[in-house]
C-alpha cells in the first residue's frame, strides 16, 4: 500500500519539554487516520510540524515517498496538505466565496473575478456534497456550515490530504453526523484524512486506523477493526478506564431548588422559558436533556441571577433568590460551573491561583478591609490544585496556559470548595478527554453523595444517561418530561427532546 504522508521518528522540543518524542505516523492513500491522544499529548504539535509551522529537531517527512522539508504553510499547501483548524479562520462580514479565495484571488485585469470563483466554489461544494451557498455571509451561517467553508477552502487550494483538528468539538450531534458523511465522501473522491481527536466513538465510527500518542511519545498504530474503545482508552490514558460511571443509588432528601411557573425572556425579548417547573432535592443529580436553544441557557442564567426573569419563583432551601444579584445568589449557596469556561468561568489572564478565589476574594481570610492576603489566597489555591489534581507548573501560572481539562478541574475545585447546596454544572466535560471526563463525573457524584443537589446540563446523551439520577427533558422553555435513566432509552429521550411526545412535568418517575 502506498503512503501519501510519512512522518518518521519526529522529535520536537520546546525549552524545557519534549513535545514530540520519536513519533511515527504513516497515512495511506484513501484512509481516515485518527491521531488520538489526551489534551496536551502533543497531537497539535505534530500536525503543526507537518503543516510547516514548526521545524522538527529530528526525523523525516516524506510525501508520496519523497523526502521533503516543510518550512512554512505555503509549502504544505503546495504539497497538497490542507488543515481545517479547530478555531475557524474566517472573516465574518465576508461572503463564503470571498473567504475561500482570500489570498488566492482569481483576478482578471487587476479586478477580482468573483463570478468565476463563485462558480468554482459551487462546483466543489456539489462534488463533495457540502451544500454551501457561495453567496452567504459567514456571520449568517451556522457553526457547522462555517466548518464546511473551512473544508472548502482547503479543497479550493487543491488539498489532497486534509487534517481535521478536533472538528466535532464545536458541533451539535446532528452536525457531527453530517460531517462524518462529508468525510466519507471525501475519501470516496480519493482524498486522505488525518483526524485529530480524543473522542473514541468517532474513531470507531469513521476511521480506518488510529495512531495513539501519550505524553509526547508515540504508543503505536492499530487498525480500528481490530480494537475496541476500552483498549484505545487505556492506550491513550495509560491505565484502565471505566466508561460506565460507578455510583450507588441516590438517596434524595429535602427539596433544595424549587422553581415554580418561571417565565424568562431571551436577549431578543422573546419568551424563552414559559412557565417552567423544576425541583431538585438534596442528594440527587438532575440532568437537563434537550436540544440546544430550548431555553437551557436562559434557565441557568435566571437561576444564577445573570438574567432577570419575568415572573414565577426560584427558591433555594425555601429562600427566594429570583432576581437578586449574582453575588447574592452565590452567597445563598449556589455553585456554578459555566458552559463556556473561557468566557464565563475564568479570567484567563489571571494566575490560576487568583482564579481560585474569583467569588470569595472579598471575604476573610482572603482579604481584610479591602486588602488582599495573597498568602491565604495561594494557600487555598495550592490545596485545591492538589486536591483536584490540576496540572499546572505553579499556582502563579496564567490560567490561559493550562489545558482545557485542567482549567475545568480548577473551576470545579473552586465551586465545590465553597460547599454550595446546589451545584450547577453546565456541559462540564465539553471538549475534555476521557481521563478528565471520568474525573469530573466522579466529583459530581461525590457531591451528590455528600447530600448536595446537582443540576447537570449536557448535550451529550451518554453523559446525561450515565450521571443523572433523574432526567428532565426541556423543550421550548418547558420541562416536558421527567424520566428515570434506568427505565428510558436514548431513542425515547431523543423523541421527547424533539417535542414529539409531551408528558406532564413531574408526573413521571419520581425516583
Amino acid at each position: 500500500m502506498e503512503y501519501v504522508i510519512e512522518m518518521l521518528n519526529i522529535r520536537k522540543e520546546f525549552p524545557g519539554i519534549v513535545a514530540n518524542d520519536n513519533i511515527t505516523l504513516q497515512l495511506k492513500k484513501g484512509e481516515i487516520h485518527a491521531l488520538l491522544g489526551e489534551n496536551g499529548a502533543g497531537k497539535s504539535t505534530l500536525m503543526n510540524v507537518l503543516f510547516g509551522l514548526y521545524q522538527p529537531e529530528n526525523g523525516e517527512i516524506r510525501v508520496k515517498g519523497e523526502s521533503v522539508k516543510i518550512t512554512n504553510p505555503n509549502i504544505a499547501n503546495d504539497l497538497g496538505i490542507g488543515m481545517v483548524h479547530q478555531h475557524f479562520m474566517l472573516v465574518e462580514p465576508f461572503t463564503v466565496t470571498e473567504n475561500i479565495i482570500l489570498g488566492k484571488e482569481t483576478t482578471s485585469g487587476g479586478k477580482i473575478d468573483i463570478k468565476k470563483a463563485e462558480k468554482k466554489v459551487h462546483e466543489i461544494s456539489e462534488k463533495y456534497g457540502l451544500a454551501v451557498d457561495p453567496h452567504a455571509k459567514i456571520s449568517d451561517i451556522s457553526v457547522g456550515m462555517q466548518q464546511r467553508v473551512e473544508i472548502l477552502k482547503t479543497l479550493y487550494r487543491g488539498a489532497e490530504i486534509l487534517i481535521f483538528d478536533e472538528p466535532t468539538a464545536v458541533l451539535t450531534p446532528q452536525e457531527i453526523h453530517e460531517l462524518i458523511q462529508i468525510m466519507k465522501t471525501l475519501i470516496n473522491e480519493g482524498k486522505s484524512i488525518i483526524l485529530i481527536t480524543h473522542k473514541l466513538k468517532e474513531i470507531m465510527e469513521v476511521c480506518d486506523r488510529v495512531t495513539v500518542i501519550r505524553k509526547g511519545v508515540g504508543i503505536g498504530t492499530v487498525n480500528v477493526s481490530e480494537t475496541n474503545p476500552n483498549e484505545l482508552a487505556s492506550l491513550m490514558v495509560g491505565r484502565e478506564v471505566t466508561f460506565k460511571t460507578e455510583k450507588i443509588p441516590a438517596d434524595p432528601k429535602q427539596n433544595v431548588l424549587n422553581i415554580q411557573d418561571l417565565h424568562v425572556k431571551d436577549s431578543r425579548g422573546l419568551p424563552a422559558i414559559k412557565g417552567l417547573n423544576l425541583q431538585i432535592r438534596a442528594g440527587e443529580i438532575v440532568g437537563i436533556a434537550g436540544i440546544d436553544g430550548n431555553g437551557q441557557t436562559e434557565l441557568l442564567e435566571a437561576i444564577t441571577g445573570l438574567r432577570k426573569s419575568e415572573s414565577g419563583s426560584i427558591t433555594i432551601n425555601g429562600k427566594d433568590i429570583r432576581n437578586i444579584s449574582p453575588r447574592k445568589v452565590t452567597e445563598s449557596g449556589v455553585g456554578h460551573i459555566p458552559q463556556d469556561r473561557h468566557k464565563h468561568g475564568l479570567v484567563l489572564d489571571f494566575p490560576i491561583g487568583e482564579n481560585m478565589v474569583l467569588q470569595t476574594y472579598y471575604q476573610k481570610p482572603f482579604s481584610n478591609k479591602g486588602v488582599l492576603n495573597f498568602k491565604e489566597i495561594y494557600k487555598k489555591a495550592n490545596s485545591l490544585i492538589k486536591e483536584f489534581d490540576v496540572r499546572t507548573p505553579s499556582e502563579f501560572t496564567l490560567a490561559r496556559a493550562l489545558s482545557g481539562g485542567n482549567q475545568q478541574k480548577a473551576i470545579i475545585g473552586r465551586e465545590v470548595d465553597r460547599d454550595p447546596d446546589l451545584l450547577i454544572a453546565a456541559q462540564p466535560t465539553r471538549g475534555l478527554d476521557v481521563g478528565a471526563i471520568e474525573f469530573i463525573h466522579k466529583r459530581l457524584i461525590e457531591q451528590r453523595d455528600h447530600g448536595k443537589a446537582v443540576l447537570l446540563l449536557s448535550f451529550e446523551l451518554d453523559e446525561i444517561m450515565n450521571v443523572s439520577d433523574r432526567i428532565a427533558v426541556i423543550y421550548e422553555g418547558e420541562i416536558v418530561a421527567i424520566l428515570d435513566p434506568k427505565q428510558t432509552t436514548e431513542q425515547e429521550l431523543g423523541l421527547l427532546m424533539a417535542g414529539s411526545q409531551r408528558k406532564e412535568a413531574g408526573e413521571e418517575a419520581n425516583v
Partner: protein
C-alpha cells in the same frame, strides 16, 4: 523570550529605533546628529537647572501616564486625560485663588479639588459606558473640547474680568518651593514630583494589593467571567474611570499649583494628556514603567529646547524626531501584540 524581558526590550527598542531614524533624517538634511543628541542630553541633564526643569516636566507626565495606564489596566481607553487635566488644573487654581486659608489646609484642599474635578469629568464617560454602553473613546474625546472651552469661559467670566488668565494663586496653595528652586538654580521644580511618586505607589497598591484592584483587573480582562463571579461590572467601569480621572486631575493641579500658579485662557490643548497615552503605552501601563517613560518624555521635551541653539537643528526637525520616537512607541505596542500572538501560536497543545 520571557515576558519580563519582552516588556523591557520592546520599549527600549522603540526608543532606539526612533533615535536611529531621527539620526538618519538629520544626516540626510545635513545636520550634525552627534551634536544634536549631545545638545539634547545636555539640555535635559547638563546643568542642575535643567535637571530641575526636567523633573518638573516629568511630574505631569507621570500622572497623565498613570491616568491612561490605570484605565487601560481595567480595559478602558481613556483618551480624555487631556480634558480631565484641564478641569483639574482649573479647579485647583480656583481653590487656590478663592480661599484664604493656612497652608496646611489650603494646599491639600487645592490638590484634592484638582483630583475631584478630574474624577468628576471622567465619571461622565464612565457612567455613560456602564449605563448605556456608549464607547468611552468617543465621549472622552468630545469632553476634551468641552473642558477646554468651558475652562476658557469660566476664566474669562467668573475667575477674572475678561482677562486672559486667572489671578495668581495664594502662596498658601502653591506647590512651589524656594528650597527646591534654590537647590536647582532657580528651576521651577516644585513639590508635585513627590505627589506624583506617591500616586505611582497608590496605583501599584490599588492594582496589586486590594480587592478593588482585583475586581478592576478582572473586569478589564474578562467582563463576562467577572459578572458570573458576582462582581458589579458597571460599578467597576465607573470606578476605574473615576480613579483614572483623579490622576489626570492631579496632573492638572501640578501644573496649576506648581509650574504656573495660575490657569491661562488656552488657544488649544496642553498636549500633556495626549502625551500621557504615549507614556502609558511605552511604560506598558505598569507603575514603574510609567515613571521611566515619563522621565524619557520629560527629558526629550526639555532637552529638545536646547537643540536649535546648541546644534543649530531647526525646531521642525526636533519635532520630527520626537514624533518618530512616539511613533515607534506606538508601533512597539503593535510589535508587542505581534510577538504575543506569535508565541501564543507556538504554545504546546
Amino acid at each position: 523570550m520571557s515576558n519580563r524581558f519582552k516588556n523591557l526590550i520592546v520599549p527600549v527598542l522603540a526608543v532606539v529605533l526612533g533615535m536611529l531614524v531621527g539620526t538618519i533624517i538629520m544626516l540626510v538634511t545635513g545636520y550634525d546628529a552627534g551634536a544634536a543628541f549631545v545638545a539634547l542630553i545636555e539640555g535635559a541633564f547638563g546643568d542642575i537647572y535643567y535637571i530641575g526643569e526636567t523633573i518638573r516636566q516629568v511630574t505631569p507626565y507621570i500622572l497623565a501616564g498613570l491616568a491612561v495606564g490605570f484605565a487601560f489596566k481595567t480595559g478602558l481607553f481613556n483618551i480624555g486625560v487631556e480634558g480631565q487635566l484641564i478641569v483639574g488644573w482649573l479647579a485647583s487654581v480656583w481653590v487656590g485663588v478663592a480661599f484664604d486659608l493656612p497652608k496646611i489646609i489650603h494646599l491639600p484642599l487645592a490638590v484634592l479639588a484638582g483630583a475631584a474635578a478630574g474624577a468628576l469629568w471622567a465619571f461622565i464617560p464612565g457612567f455613560l459606558k456602564a449605563r448605556f454602553r456608549v464607547h468611552e473613546v468617543i465621549v472622552t474625546i468630545m469632553l476634551n473640547y468641552v473642558a477646554l472651552h468651558l475652562s476658557n469661559y469660566l476664566i474669562r467670566t467668573v475667575l477674572s474680568d475678561k482677562s486672559d488668565r486667572t489671578p495668581n494663586i495664594h502662596d498658601t496653595a502653591s506647590l512651589r518651593s524656594p528650597f527646591l528652586e534654590g537647590l536647582t538654580d532657580y528651576s521651577r521644580l516644585h513639590w508635585g514630583i513627590v505627589i506624583a511618586l506617591i500616586c505611582v505607589f497608590i496605583m501599584w497598591f490599588i492594582l496589586q494589593k486590594t480587592t478593588l484592584g482585583y475586581e478592576l483587573k478582572a473586569v478589564g480582562f474578562n467582563q463576562h467571567a467577572s459578572e458570573y463571579a458576582g462582581m458589579n461590572v458597571r460599578k467597576n467601569i465607573i470606578l476605574s474611570m473615576v480613579i483614572s480621572g483623579a490622576f489626570a486631575g492631579l496632573a492638572g493641579a501640578m501644573e496649576g499649583l506648581g509650574t504656573f500658579g495660575y490657569s491661562p485662557v488656552r488657544g488649544g490643548f496642553t498636549g500633556v494628556g495626549f502625551d500621557g497615552i504615549a507614556v502609558a503605552l511605552l511604560g506598558g501601563s505598569a507603575p514603574i514603567g510609567i515613571v521611566l517613560a515619563a522621565l524619557l518624555f520629560g527629558s526629550l521635551k526639555v532637552g529638545a529646547l536646547n537643540m536649535p541653539l546648541e546644534a543649530g537643528v531647526p525646531n521642525e526637525l526636533v519635532d520630527i524626531i520626537i514624533a518618530l520616537i512616539v511613533f515607534f512607541v506606538g508601533a512597539s505596542y503593535m510589535i508587542r501584540i505581534f510577538i504575543e500572538r506569535l508565541s501564543k501560536k507556538k504554545g504546546v497543545k
